[in-house]
Point group: C2
Chain length 303, copies 2
C-alpha cells in the first residue's frame, strides 16, 4: 500500500523510500547486519523505475482492484463474488512500555516494574475493550529487552492495530485503551515508586472509506453477468456486497479517483498464512468481473 | 555458571562449548549473521585455556563466593554482611505456543488462534499462581512470529523462570501452570477447531541448595570479626543469615565440595541493571570477610 500512498500523495516519496524492514528474531540469522531500506530493496530487483509515482503526472480515470476476501463470508455462504462497498477504519500504533530491568530470582513481584507483565495485561484488556465496541485490536510485533532468561524486562516495544467499521468506534477504543493502559502501567512498579510508563506513537490513521457508487455499480452488474454467463441460475444470490476488514491500495486511490473492489472466496477465509488459497475457478471469475467492470466504467464515461 | 557446572561435571564440556548466544532483536543490527558459540567466544578472547575443567583433575578443598545481595534485605536493614545459608530452587523452561497466523483486519476474535494473546493470558496467570505459593515466575525472552503489524502471530516462543524456597513449592507451581496454560491454549482457537497448543522444554532444574555448615560457620565468624574490627559496636546485628534468590557458581560447587557465600549490600537491591551499585566500603568489607573465611576454613582443616 506504500506505492498507492505515494501515488495519491498521502505519503511523501522520500519517506516511502526511507522505510526500513522490521528487524525481527524471525529474520535472524539471515538478516543483513543493518535493516534494508525500501529504496535499496527496489533497486536490487530493478523495480525502482522512472515513471513519476503521482496521481497528477500519472493519472488514472478510475481504480478497480481484485482480491481474495481474506474473511469467511463468501466461502461460508457459498457465494462467488463480493462487491466491496467500503473499507473499515484502522489505526496502527507503536507502543513503548518502560519499566525497570531487575533480577528474576531476587526481585519480589511488588518490587518489580516488569514491562512484559504490563504488556500482557494490556493485551488482554485490549481485546476486552475492542470487543465491547464491535472493533478489533491486535498485536503483531513484540520485542522485550534486554532479552535474558533471568532478567525481568525493563522495556517492551510492540505494535497495536485497532480496526472498526466506523471512525467513531475506533476513536472510542483508542481513548479507552489509553486510559486503561496508563492505569495498568501505573500499577506495575508502584511498590518501588517507579511505575511503568507507556508511550504511544501513531504510525497510520486510515479512516473508513466508502467506495464510489459508479464503480460499485459496475462491479455489481459485472458480477451478476459473469455468474449468469457461467450458467448459474440463482445469479443474484451468488453476488453480495461486503465491507473490507483489511486495508488495500484502493483506500489510497479512492482519495483521488472513483474506486471499488472485487472479492473472491478463499479457503477458510484465511490469509497471511501459508495455507491461503483460492481455486483457479474463483480466480478466473474474479478476473472476468474486473475486466467487465473496467469496460463498463469506460463505456459509461463516453455515453 | 556454565563453567562451574562443567567443573562439577553437571554439564558436559561439549554441551557447554556448543551453547549459542540468544539471538534477540536487542542484538540487532550489530549481531553476527549466525549466533556465536561459547567455545568460539572464549577462543576470541583467549580464555579457552588448557587446565582441565573438572573437580577430579583440578580439585578444590572448599568454595567461597562473594556477591552483591541482588536483593533489598541488607540495604533496607542497614546491615553489612549476609551469611548465605541456602539458594532457592529454580527451573528454567522454554515454551512454544502454536496457534495460527491470520489477518488482523479480517479475522474476528472468535476465529483467531492468537498465540500472543494466549501468551499474555498465561503470563498474567503465572504471576497469580506463583504468588499464591510464595514463589516467583518470570518471562525474560519472548519472540512472536511471523512478526508483522497486520498478522496475528501463530507462534510465540518464550522463556519461563520459576523459583521458590522449597523444591516442593516449585513442583506445585509447575504442575498448576501446565494445567492452566493448557486450558488457556485450548480456549484460544476453539472457534475454528484449531486451538493453540503449548509445548514445555525444561532447560534447567536447580533444586534448593543448603550450603555446608562448616563453611557457613567460617563466614559467620569472619563477618562478625570484620564488622567488629571496623569499630562497629553492635557487630552481631550487622551480620545476618540469608537465602539467595539467584543461582550462583556455588550451586554447582556445593555438589562436590563444602561451600558457602558472602553477600554485601547493593543500592536498591538492584542487579541486572545499569544502576547496579555497591560502595567501595561494602566491597572492601566483603573482600575481608571472604579472605578471613578461607583462612579460617584452611586452619580448621589441619587442627
Amino acid at each position: 500500500m506504500v506505492s498507492s500512498g505515494v501515488w495519491a500523495e498521502s505519503i511523501p516519496l522520500a519517506k516511502a523510500h526511507d522505510l526500513k524492514e522490521v528487524p525481527t528474531v524471525a529474520s535472524l540469522p539471515t538478516a543483513a547486519s543493518a535493516p534494508e531500506s525500501m529504496k535499496s530493496a527496489l533497486q536490487k530487483i530493478n523495480y525502482l523505475g522512472s515513471a513519476p509515482c503521482s496521481y497528477k503526472q500519472t493519472p488514472m480515470a478510475a481504480h478497480f482492484e481484485l482480491h481474495i476476501e481474506q474473511g469467511p463470508h463468501l466461502v461460508s455462504a457459498g457465494q462467488r463474488v463480493g462487491v466491496v462497498t467500503a473499507v473499515q477504519a484502522y489505526r496502527w500504533y507503536r507502543l513503548n512500555i518502560t519499566g525497570r530491568d531487575s533480577h528474576t530470582g531476587t526481585t519480589a513481584f511488588e518490587h518489580r516494574a516488569d514491562a512484559l507483565y504490563a504488556f500482557s495485561r494490556m493485551m488482554v484488556r485490549a481485546r476486552e475493550v475492542a470487543a465491547s465496541h464491535g472493533c478489533l485490536a491486535s498485536v503483531g510485533i513484540v520485542e522485550a529487552k534486554p532479552g535474558s532468561v533471568n532478567t525481568v524486562p525493563g522495556l517492551v516495544s510492540c505494535t497495536l492495530d485497532v480496526r472498526g467499521p466506523e471512525n467513531e468506534a475506533v476513536a472510542v477504543v483508542d481513548a479507552q485503551l489509553r486510559t486503561d493502559f496508563d492505569a495498568i502501567a501505573a500499577e506495575e512498579g508502584k511498590g518501588i515508586g517507579k511505575p511503568c510508563r507507556v508511550e504511544w506513537i501513531l504510525d497510520l490513521d486510515s479512516p473508513a472509506v466508502n467506495f464510489h457508487p459508479d464503480c460499485i455499480g459496475c462491479v455489481q452488474q459485472s458480477g451478476e453477468a459473469v455468474v449468469a454467463d457461467a450458467g448459474r441460475d440463482s445469479g443474484k444470490s451468488l453476488v453480495r456486497t461486503i465491507m473490507s476488514g483489511a486495508g488495500h491500495d484502493s483506500v489510497f486511490t479512492s482519495k483521488r479517483v472513483p474506486t471499488s473492489m472485487i472479492f473472491i472466496p478463499c479457503k477458510d477465509g484465511l490469509s497471511h498464512h501459508p495455507e491461503e488459497f483460492s481455486s483457479a475457478d474463483n480466480c478466473a471469475t474474479g478476473a472476468s468481473v474486473i475486466l467487465q467492470a473496467v469496460v463498463r466504467y469506460d463505456r459509461n464515461r463516453f455515453t
